[in-house]
Amino acid sequence: MITVKLYSAIRKYGGKEVMFEYKKNLRVRDIVEELKIPIKEISIIILDHFDSTPDIMLDHEVKESSLIHLFPPMAGG
């Protein structure tokens, strides 16, 4: 199973956590589309401890037990 964790404003698309069945060639983008989250509302994607810009991360393929964190634009300090 793949675990997807959602934070702050984008929890409206699925709550805190959503589980997905693994499929071959499944990408982060497919999961985001399945959740119906507009891509422009996602600013940070962390897949199995790795992060980069969303446009790079969206095309990453997930593994059977992947953990994905999805965050909207945020800042603080």
Partner: protein
Amino acid sequence: MFGYMGKLLRINLTDQSVKVEDLDFELAKKYVGGRGLGTKILFDEIDPKIDALSPENKLIFINGPLTGTPTPTGGRYMVVTKSPLSGTIASSNSGGTWGARLKYAGYDGIIVEGKAKNPIYININEDVVELLDAKDLWGKTVGDTTDILKDTKKTNVLTIGPAGEKLSKIAAIMNDKDRAAGRSGVGAVMGSKLLKAIVVTGNLKVSLADPDSVKAYVKDANLKIKENPVTGQGLPAYGTAVLVNVINANGILPTNNFQEGVFANAEDISGETLAEKYLVRKDPCHRCTIGCGRYTKTDKVEGGGPEYETIWAFGADCGVKNLETIIEANWWCNQLGIDTISAGSTLAAAMELKQKGLLDHIDFEGHDLEFGNDDAIVYWTKKLANREGFGDEMADGSYRLCNRYGRADLSMTVKKLEIPAYDPRGVQGHGLNYATSNRGGCHVRGYMISPEILGLPTKLERLDLKDKPFWTKTFQDLTAFIDSIGLCLFTSFALGAAEYADIYNSVVGTKWTADDVLKAGERIYTLEKQFNLAAGILPEEDTLPPRLLIEPMPSGPTEGHVHHLDQLLPEYYDLRGWDSEGIPTAEKLKDLGL
């Protein structure tokens, strides 16, 4: 003279004299105001080697030219002095309304000198400035003092609490009850002068060079702030604590005194949980169109905060998952006038000392300082601020506490100032900023978390070293400018150097470019470095706690990494025009007009 009020108040507490001096406009333009101008005045007027708690130290409250203007977040002021905690330059920034009110009373700043014979407070009502007996206020909390002294809507109160009176080297200066010039122990300097409070009343206006342009730029900036998803949505909805989960998901949320980088209960102390369970309303500062400030309520307390850094310090860093208790600890810090970051981090250091068996002789009075014991954080925060029992050993911060037990290495500090809520092992640029920050371990001297974690203004790989010295220097210089004009650093999530130049020009009447903005910031940064060198701060103090340099992160997304300061510092110094030891070259000083 536009933007500036053109007057400084000089108050000598030893001889009780009050003088009004004209502001040197050319000096003000060169050093901008706030942090820059305050540092210049302090450096010119004191020997940086003096004891920070002696009457020879001066305490400068100073605004920027944009403080009190209609510009977005235009309400910030700076406290500039020599720090009793670090021995470096101290410049602590605060919001609320007090700074703007000082402008409305007719003054760009106040220079406080000497030491009073008995506790006093200063009452300023435009041209009338009085030094009044504060005997009955001494010992009172920030809330009680403020309630007693605030008598009209056009009055704002700045005060210390018991921690400042007792010369805790991590004491804060508080204004408008919940706003803090928190860091570097500035509250102890005020306490050492027996100055309890400064009350300001005023209704004057700040003149603007080009009111129509100001109006247009403010409209444009406010639109950008509103349309930006960070400043227009994230910060207003969740406050700064929205960061808890993203910092934890990157494995850099310092846990149990930086022994780990992932806190299993992060969700329990997150901005989302804060908003769901305890948030009453937003609590914006003067002229703020963002509104990240929180006003929260639990069964026990009600008031401003907590911020992200506070939640981390008393939460993950102490292994505590009870947000209600963290809110209570924050409330007591505000009431007693103490820096939440240094207080929480000092408790965490004590917990590790105890974990290692070094405090077996201490009477913990039934409230054991152990990681995860939420009961201990409120109890010992109060004891720390009041210097009672073991609290007295913690009252001067974690460095002096750990050093007393021969384990200074367990103090997570740079230049004796506690480093905040991001483990440098997983954010290489931010670690460089901590090591080179002129006031010691500080996240808001060059907030590299923006590009390295949040992707603002562009995403940098957090573990890479490439280009990090350039970015760190640029962030530090821009921040020095923002801190000097009187705006909030958070505007930089939506605005850039060119936009700051436009707004500054429209208020002051200059024709600065983005390059001028960065050059002014660089001048201020280098001046601070010069102050530190003259104060006896050694070049090798540009470093990080050994744990972060040699102990690989044990687990999580940052597992196996250390901070590579030795690889970053040479390029950073080179970019600054400083020599290989971090000393500004004569050529660079000349270039900056220093």
